[in-house]
């Protein structure tokens, strides 16, 4: 209580005092409730609670994020890619490329030494095709590409010229 209206009558003094106490107590109470709710929100986002996560998307919801495996795979394939190589990244559907921004856009930031292009650059009629394809999850089937590395999260393919 910073300022007491000492000139007021005893009754008003009590009332003012109560109001001032509430002015301080209510926001503190709100903060406590929100902190408790925040802990509950974190709790529902899956264990482990204190382990070091593998990616920045490990616990963003009750279910796994679709781009999580892409992040793990990109970290593994990065040392295998030469600087300046043309690369694309997607989750194949029926063995083919498809428009897949959720996997391609992260690769643009995570492969800074390569030139990352959209998935259509690995289509049958793309000329010239990209040098490398990072296929997340499913196998990629294309006559021009050979699998050069396999990981639990996907595989890396290289174009034969």
């Amino acid at each position: 209580m910073d300022e007491h209206p000492c000139h007021l009558t005893g009754y008003l003094l009590v009332r003012t005092d109560t109001r001032e106490r509430l002015q301080i107590a209510v926001p503190f109470l709100g903060a406590v409730l929100l902190c408790a709710m925040l802990m509950a929100r974190f709790h529902e986002r899956r264990a482990p609670w204190f382990g070091r996560p593998e990616t920045i998307l490990d616990h963003v919801g009750p279910e796994e994020h679709q781009a999580r495996y892409t992040l793990i795979l990109l970290e593994k394939v990065q040392p295998l890619l030469p600087k300046g190589a043309y690369v694309t990244c997607f989750r194949p559907v029926n063995g083919k490329q498809h428009d897949d921004s959720a996997n391609y856009l992260p690769a643009v930031g995570l492969l800074p030494d390569q030139i990352v292009l959209p998935a259509f650059t690995a289509s049958d009629d793309s000329e010239p095709p990209v040098d490398y394809v990072v296929a997340v999850g499913e196998p990629f089937v294309h006559a021009r590409y050979t699998r050069i590395a396999t990981f639990p999260e996907g595989a890396l393919y290289r174009a034969s010229r």
């Binding site: 002015q23 107590a25 926001p27 929100l34 902190c35 929100r41 609670w49 959720a102 856009l105 930031g109």
Partner: protein, 418 residues
């Protein structure tokens, strides 16, 4: 290690804001608030410096960025010693620890960091400039090429220190922005409200922002930086309305606001209009507007010059006022934050004990204006905005929640020094 270095580099940007510690208004605040305000102003000043260097073809390097940083840091001036009771920081500290925990354990990350904020920062750092060739490449159109550049600039600055952009660092940076917002607010509110009330509302602000950031998975994006700048601007104009130093701080924060996100521009215009309406000071309002308008004008000119304008294109999408009912309904449902609107209620209930509701007029007008601006955006476009509302309303309207708490705080205090 690179995350620590990256974060140290970004925190060091506080030195770019050292000049604000020479303002009498800032010098009389408690020390943590001085640092938090210098941090906010430093991010803006550093970002503008990087943009200017890019404009005059000076490549970013440790020499071209750290020498100005050290020189700017020499302007730091010690302020008055303001006594503080340590225990009044307890709840704010708990909220700070929780939000840092959320970032460190990947519990509140936004995919937007991977989709466009991070890639932009990586390529800006690689090119040692704002890389318009990268932004203009048609393959990267989905990265919102014309979004304002402040966050990628800050991330690139950290990368100059660490030799790489750290995505983990970016997550922690969001947590840091939230803590800085609450600390700056506490310091600016204290001369008007007294230590206890300022501490109570700062704790509430920190908890509400931390909770909202986690619920909307916004860490790593530009939203936390927007909250920081909006809170600094509105707090300065609310609690230091007649002070020239407060106006300078607010003008810098508004400049950052327009450079951080697309909605920053309408939010800044709302703040300026609300200030004009509530204080009736035309000259001061115009003075506040000059630098932010120059900054966003320069960015809009650049994106039109490079033919990458999209979000800033006037009349790009048709306006559908007839959807107002469903837009309001969907938005209201979405922003319950899965907590029965608790963050909103926490900002509304304190008005029941208001002592000085008149002082709350300005921040209340800003709160209403930011809500109206957000709804206005949702009324645009051919397709139904349901998906757009679901994916953005929580984090965008967290600004309004925070400003409502600032308004509640301002209505609670006595007349001292205000």
């Amino acid at each position: 290690m690179s995350t620590v270095l990256w974060l140290a580099g970004v925190v060091a940007m506080t030195m770019f804001g050292a000049f604000v510690t020479r303002l009498a208004y800032v010098r009389m605040l408690e020390r943590p608030a001085r640092v938090a305000i210098a941090f906010a102003c430093g991010l803006v000043t550093g970002g503008v410096l990087m943009a200017l260097e890019s404009l005059v073809h000076v490549s970013w390097s440790r020499a071209t960025l750290f020498v100005p940083l050290v020189l700017a840091g020499c302007l730091w001036r010690r302020g008055e010693r303001v006594p503080m009771r340590a225990w009044t920081w307890t709840l704010l500290a708990i909220a700070a620890v929780l939000t840092c925990y959320g970032s460190l354990t990947a519990r509140q990350s936004t995919a937007d960091l991977l989709f466009f904020w991070g890639p932009k920062a990586v390529h800006f750092y690689g090119a040692e400039k704002i890389d318009f060739e990268f932004l203009a490449a048609p393959h990267y159109f989905l990265m919102h090429s014309d979004y304002p550049p402040l966050l990628p600039l800050v991330c690139a600055f950290g990368a100059v220190a660490a030799h790489a952009v750290s995505y983990w660092g970016a997550l922690l940076f969001s947590a840091l922005c939230i803590v800085a917002a609450a600390v700056a607010f506490r310091g600016m509110a204290r001369p008007c409200l007294g230590e206890m009330r300022a501490a109570a509302f700062a704790s509430l602000l920190a908890a509400a922002l931390a909770y909202g950031l986690a619920t909307s998975n916004a860490a790593g994006g530009a939203d936390a930086l927007l909250y920081l700048l909006a809170i600094v601007a509105v707090s300065a104009l609310t609690f230091g309305a007649e002070d020239r130093g407060a106006h300078i701080v607010a003008a810098i924060a508004l400049t950052g606001l327009v450079l951080v996100k697309v909605e920053g521009l309408p939010f800044a215009l709302v703040i300026l209009a609300a200030y004009l309406v509530s204080r009736r000071r035309v000259a001061a309002s115009l003075a506040l507007a000059i630098v932010p308008l120059l900054a966003i004008g320069a960015w809009v000119f650049a994106i039109y010059h490079r033919h990458i304008a999209d979000a800033y294109t006037i009349g790009r999408k048709p306006f559908h006022p007839e959807r107002i009912g469903e837009v309001m309904r969907w938005t209201a449902v979405r922003v319950n934050y899965r907590a029965a609107w608790l963050p909103w209620l926490a900002g509304i209930v304190p008005f029941a004990f208001a002592r000085n509701p008149r002082r709350a007029l300005f921040p209340l007008l800003v709160t209403a204006g930011t809500i109206a601006a957000t709804l206005f955006f949702y009324l645009q476009g051919e397709e139904s905005p349901k998906w757009w509302i679901d994916s953005s309303a929580e984090r965008v309207l967290l600004t309004s929640v925070a400003l409502l708490i600032v308004a509640a705080a301002s209505s609670s205090g006595g007349e001292t020094m205000c």
